[in-house]
Subunit: 333 residues, 2 copies
C-alpha cells in the first residue's frame, strides 16, 4: 500500500543477507515462496505458533539476540511439553518503522545461535513492515512417534503433579525491571538480580524431557502463563490440582527476593514466563520419572496431586492453610 | 507485561468462541498448546508463512471477512504455485488496541468460509495484543507426492512463459481506492470499479492448477509483487523473460481503466496482488497445459519466452517497441 523506504534494503536483500544463512534442508536458501519437508515415516508432526510483540511480551530495548532466543524458545517449549523433538521453524518478522540494520543483525545472530543450540533450522517465512511495534511470529514443527503426543487434558484423579526446574524466576525478573527505585526488590543483591533477569530474558525449553514425557506423563504443558493459571487449564472436568506450596521449587535467587518481600510469592506462583514443564504422572511412576529426568540433567519436583473437584488450584502451606489461586495479573492479553 | 483489559474476554475465551469452531482434525478443539498432524505416506509437506498488516497490506476499514479471506488466500496461493494441495493452517492474530468483538466475529466468519471453500482447516495458533496496527500471520501447510514440489528457479532458456487469469486487476483496484476525486480512474463505470475493487480485496488462489503445474511446469510462483518484479525473481542465472505485452491477459474492466488512463498499464504490469500463477513450460507442452487448465476452469495465456541474458524482463509491444520493466512502486516493504 505504500512505497519502500528509499535508503533501506528491500525484503529480498534482507532475507539474503540475514536469514538465508540460517536456512535448513528443504528451504532452498529461502529463494522460493515455500519450503518442502519430507516427514519421517512412522512419525507425526507437532505444530505450534506463538507470536511475541514489542512492548507486550518483551521490552523494545531488550538485546535483539535475546528477543530472537525468546521468540524461538517459547515455541520450542510447547513442542517439548508435547513430547516432540524440534524439526524446523518458520518466521514472520514485522519490523517497526524505526528498525535498524544493527538490530536485525543482532536478531538474526541470536536466532542462528538458538536454532543451532536447539537443533531446529529455519525453513521459511517472511519479513514485513509492522506499521507499529515490532512483532515476531514463529511456527515451530516437531516430530514424535505416531500417536504419542502428550495432551494437556490427560490427567487422572490421583496422578502426581510435577514441575521441572524452578518456578517464578522469570516473573520476579520482570517484577525487578518494573520495580520502582524504593521497592524492597530493587535492593536485591546483584548475583540474584542477574539470575532473575536472565530467566526473564532467556527461556530454556526443556527439550531433554520430551522423550520422558512420552513415556511417563498422563498430561503435560509448559508453564507460560503462570503456574496457578496453567494448572487450572490442565484440570477441569472434575479434576482440581492440590498443591503443597512448600514443595514448589524455588531458586536461591527467588528465595532471596521472597525474603525481601514475602508478598512476591503470589507473583512467583501466578506470574508466567517460566517455560518449565508442568505434567502429571500416574502414582508410582514419579520416582522413575524423576530419576531419569535427573540423569538427563533436569531436576523435577513433585508438588501435589490431582484431586476430585472443580475450580482453580488449591495451594496449602506447611501450616495447613489452604487458598485457591487464580491466574495472575501479568496476562499477555 | 501489562494487565488484561478489564471488560474484554481473555485469550482463552476468544479462542473458544471464535476459533475453536474452525478447528480441524488434530487440533483437539484448540484446547492444547500444539496440534498433531499425521503426514500422508509418500508425500512431502510444503510450508509457507505470510503475514499481512493493517495499513500496509490492507486498509484498516476493509470488511473483516475480506481481511480473513485475503490472509488465508495469499498463503494458499503460494501452495498452489508449488503444486501442493492445502492441508491445514496456523494463525497468529495480533489484535490492535481498539479491536472489537464485532470485528473478530466477522474475521472468524470470513476465515471459516474461506477455509471451507479452500479445504484447509485451522490447526492452531495464538491471539495476542498487537500494541499497534493489527497483524495476521498465517502458516499454511500443503501436501504433494514426494519430490514433486515445483520450484521458482527451474526455467530453461526456450521455455514458454504462462500466466493464469488476468493481470493487473488488483493493482488497478488499489489505484482506484487511492485515486483523487478528479482522476480519470475515479470516473470509471461502476461495474468495472466493482470488479477491480473485488480483485484487490479477494485473492483467488489457483488451487485447481496445482496438479497441472506438477505435470507441466519447469518453474512456478504466484504473482504477488507484480508481474514484472516476479518475472525478474524467477529468472537470473543467464535467463531473462521476453514478454509480448499484447499477450498479457487483461480483464474487460482493466481494459476500460487503461482506456481512461493509458499510463496505468505500468501499474497493471508492476503493481502486485494478482495472486495468479506465473509459470514456465517446455516448448511443445503449452498446448496440453492450456487445454487441461481450461478444462479445469482456469484460462492460461502464453505471454512470452525464456531468453538468454540477464536483467529485468523485456516487454515488447505489437509495434516492436521494447522496454525493460522493473519492480513497481507498490512494494509491501
Amino acid at each position: 500500500m505504500s512505497a519502500a523506504a528509499p535508503d533501506r534494503p528491500g525484503e529480498d536483500a534482507l532475507i539474503a543477507r540475514y536469514f538465508a544463512p540460517l536456512a535448513g534442508e528443504g528451504a532452498d536458501g529461502l529463494r522460493d515462496d515455500a519450503a518442502s519437508l519430507t516427514p519421517r515415516p512412522g512419525h507425526d508432526l507437532v505444530l505450534t505458533a506463538d507470536a511475541i510483540v514489542a512492548g507486550v511480551h518483551y521490552f523494545p530495548e531488550d538485546p535483539p539476540e535475546s528477543v530472537a532466543r525468546k521468540a524461538l524458545g517459547v515455541n520450542l517449549s510447547d513442542l517439548a511439553a508435547k513430547g516432540a523433538a524440534p524439526r524446523a521453524y518458520l518466521l514472520s518478522l514485522g519490523l517497526a518503522p524505526d528498525w535498524t540494520e544493527a538490530w536485525l543483525a543482532g536478531f538474526s545472530a541470536g536466532l542462528a545461535e538458538a536454532a543451532s543450540a536447539f537443533g531446529c533450522p529455519l525453513l521459511g517465512g517472511d519479513t514485513v513492515r509492522a506499521a507499529g511495534p515490532a512483532f515476531i511470529g514463529i511456527t515451530a514443527l516437531g516430530e514424535l512417534p505416531s500417536g504419542t503426543m502428550v495432551r494437556r487434558q490427560g490427567a487422572r484423579v490421583g496422578d502426581r503433579v510435577c514441575v521441572s526446574g524452578t518456578i517464578g524466576d522469570a516473573a520476579l525478573g520482570l517484577a525487578l525491571r518494573l520495580a520502582p527505585a524504593g521497592a524492597a526488590l530493587a535492593r536485591l543483591e546483584s548475583d540474584a538480580r542477574a539470575v532473575l533477569l536472565d530467566r526473564y530474558l532467556h527461556p530454556r525449553p526443556r527439550l531433554t524431557l520430551a522423550p520422558l514425557l512420552r513415556r511417563y506423563a498422563s498430561a503435560a504443558m509448559d508453564v507460560s502463563d503462570g503456574l496457578a493459571g496453567d494448572l487450572a487449564k490442565m484440570m477441569g472436568g472434575g479434576r482440581r490440582a492440590e498443591i503443597r506450596e512448600a514443595d514448589v521449587p524455588l531458586s536461591p535467587a527467588a528465595r532471596l527476593a521472597l525474603a525481601a518481600d514475602p508478598a512476591l510469592l503470589d507473583t512467583a506462583l501466578t506470574g508466567g514466563d517460566d517455560y518449565e514443564i508442568l505434567c502429571t504422572v500416574p502414582p508410582g511412576a514419579e520416582a522413575a520419572f524423576r530419576a531419569e529426568a535427573a540423569a538427563a540433567g533436569v531436576p523435577v519436583a513433585v508438588i501435589g496431586v490431582v484431586g476430585a473437584g472443580e475450580g482453580p488450584p488449591i495451594f496449602t502451606t506447611e501450616e495447613g492453610v489452604s487458598r485457591s489461586l487464580s491466574a495472575g495479573s501479568f496476562s499477555h492479553f
